[in-house]
């Protein structure tokens, strides 16, 4: 549904600041109906990337295809037309204070030349969809942040888009409103069969709603994939960002051996514990880590400390790995290896 091919965006030098390569050769594909997330540190080009999708920013090179249309080859007026089927939601809502909630939802319809009665009907329907039917006549100043974002989502959906772009849609909201807005996004995605591309710097948001994610750093894609796949990888920058690897520095000098376990649905930690405690008779404690439910599956990183008779450990670990369990010992003297990934 969204297809970026080798897209670059260079902002020309201005004044004393040199030119900025905001997006540096990104290729990205989001399938129809997919909920994709883009994460990355501040300044990594996330906002620029999402603005390239509806050509609010023209790429310096590369092509942008949405719903089978190569936008980068279309003349301006056809790009404008195409934008009507790509909804966009912003961090700071960007509602017009001069209009009511309903007036804001009608705005895109007005631009598309939809008649007054039909606009009214659509606005009512959409505000009901986002749970704000009663606030149709309220001005943005009278609404909470979460409510404003709901109105903005209703507005983005007015033109019956197939694609919804969200740039930090929850970053200005508190926890409760964030949860509400994310639930709404999931619901409209399912009900309307939308393809969603969501930009965020909050990993919790990705874990809550996304099917797939892309990690951007300095304008480049560093890692990407479906969450259910990425999280089962033992060494993945994206997985490290989503499920921070446990720190080990604090555990030096406690004796025993430290084991790093990647927990997945198919390789739950119970298998590991069964082997270590049941078969080898070791004492095992959890030194750090977490296990969470993401995209309907259980994933996590655990740091286990095993103490006791370690003579049969190596053989047992080989056996586990052969069975597909992601477990590896952390070399005692190598703090560097142990903390790799912890700085993300």
């Amino acid at each position: 549904m969204i297809d970026l091919h080798d897209v670059r965006k260079v902002f020309p030098a201005r004044g004393r600041s040199g030119e900025v390569v905001a997006v540096d050769g990104v290729s990205l594909r989001v399938a129809a109906g997919e909920f994709a997330g883009v994460v990355g540190p501040s300044g990594s080009g996330k906002s620029t990337l999402v603005r390239l999708v509806n050509l609010l920013e023209r790429p310096t090179s590369g092509s942008v295809t949405v719903d089978g249309r190569v936008l980068t080859e279309l003349p301006d007026d056809e790009v404008r037309q195409a934008r009507r089927s790509i909804g966009m939601v912003f961090q700071h809502f960007e509602l017009l204070d001069s209009r009511t909630a309903a007036g804001n939802v009608e705005h895109p319809l007005e631009l598309a030349g939809v008649g007054r009665a039909e606009r009214r009907r659509r606005a009512t329907e959409l505000l009901d969809l986002v749970g704000l039917g009663e606030r149709a006549d309220a001005h943005p100043g009278q609404l909470s942040g979460g409510q404003k974002q709901r109105v903005a989502i209703a507005r983005a959906l007015a033109g019956r888009p197939k694609v919804l772009l969200c740039d930090e849609a929850t970053s200005a909201l508190d926890q409760a409103s964030t949860t509400g807005v994310l639930e709404l996004l999931r619901r409209v995605r399912a009900e309307l069969g939308l393809t969603v591309l969501l930009i965020t710097h909050e990993m919790a948001v990705v874990k809550a709603v996304c099917d797939s994610a892309v990690l951007l750093e300095r304008g480049r894609v560093v890692d990407s994939g479906r969450l259910s796949e990425v999280l089962t990888r033992e060494h993945s920058p994206l997985a490290d960002a989503l499920l921070p690897a446990p720190l080990t520095d604090a555990d030096a000098g406690h004796g025993g051996v430290l084991l790093r376990v990647t927990v997945t649905d198919r390789t739950p930690e119970t298998v590991v514990l069964q082997t270590l405690i049941g078969q080898l008779g070791l004492a095992v404690e959890v030194a750090g880590g977490s296990v969470e439910t993401v995209a309907g599956g259980r994933y996590g990183r655990l740091l286990l400390r095993a103490t006791g008779d370690l003579s049969r450990l190596d053989g047992a670990l080989r056996g586990l790995r052969d069975d597909g369990v992601l477990i590896e010992p952390i070399p005692r003297d190598s703090g560097a290896v142990a903390t790799a990934g912890a700085d993300r």
């Binding site: 934008r83 009507r84 966009m88 017009l96 204070d97 001069s98 705005h107 943005p140 100043g141």
Partner: protein
């Protein structure tokens, strides 16, 4: 006090002349100044329709108009006035320099108002497929309306004070009246009365402008 009977009709006429001069030039100023302000806003570098050369040229003209003392402008535009109205004397003739003086003033205020509209709102409209003129019509102007009204009020108040000056050099109106009766005939009471009248007009205008702007501000 018997001469009040002689003064009253003239005062009434002077008031009418002032309202006429200010009213017509305010209308013309709004009709010319707002489009000029819009043009300045959209042609600025990095704006909706950047035209750096046109922007700088317009900026120069506007600055020139604003930096000239009104009394000098009065003299400078006399030939234009004669061309348009046929004479340089009278209230109708005064409308030309008044308008020329106020348009650049309002245009700058309009530019400032429009520029204060958050760029994200413009961006949101563009993402909905708005054309540039749609952005001006449905985003910039409505969002800036309270501030545009405030700017227009300030301009009209400035026009009243300009009109007193224009009056003194043959435009009629309250300024002319104050000088002819109050100053030249040493009638301080008449001067004071004119000042009170001008103040009243300004107050009513300011109040109406503020009230209207406040009613439209929902933020």
């Amino acid at each position: 006090m018997s001469d009040w009977a002689r003064v009253w009709p003239q005062l009434l006429e002077a008031t009418w002349e002032t309202l006429y001069m200010v009213g017509v030039s305010a209308l013309l100023t709004v009709l010319l100044g707002i489009p000029l302000g819009i043009l300045l806003t959209v042609t600025a570098p990095g704006a909706l329709a950047p035209r750096p050369l046109l922007y700088r040229l317009l900026g120069l003209v506007v600055n020139l108009g604003r930096s000239l003392p009104f009394i000098i402008l009065l003299v400078l535009v006399a030939p234009v006035t004669r061309g348009v109205v046929g004479t340089t004397i009278g209230s109708t003739a005064a409308i030309v320099p008044l308008t020329i003086g106020a348009v650049p003033f309002l245009a700058r205020l309009v530019e400032t108002s429009l520029r204060e509209v958050a760029s994200g709102k413009v961006e949101a409209a563009l993402s909905m497929g708005a054309r540039r003129r749609d952005v001006v019509r449905t985003v910039l102007l409505p969002e800036a309306r309270p501030s545009l009204i405030a700017g227009t009020t300030v301009t009209v108040v400035a026009l009243i004070s300009y009109s007193a000056m224009a009056g003194a050099v043959g435009g009629g109106g309250l300024g002319d009246f104050a000088i002819r009766f109050g100053y030249q005939q040493f009638r301080t009471d008449i001067t004071l009365l004119t000042v009170v009248l001008l103040l009243l007009i300004v107050q009513v205008l300011q109040w109406a402008g503020d009230h209207w702007a406040r009613r439209l501000a929902h933020a």
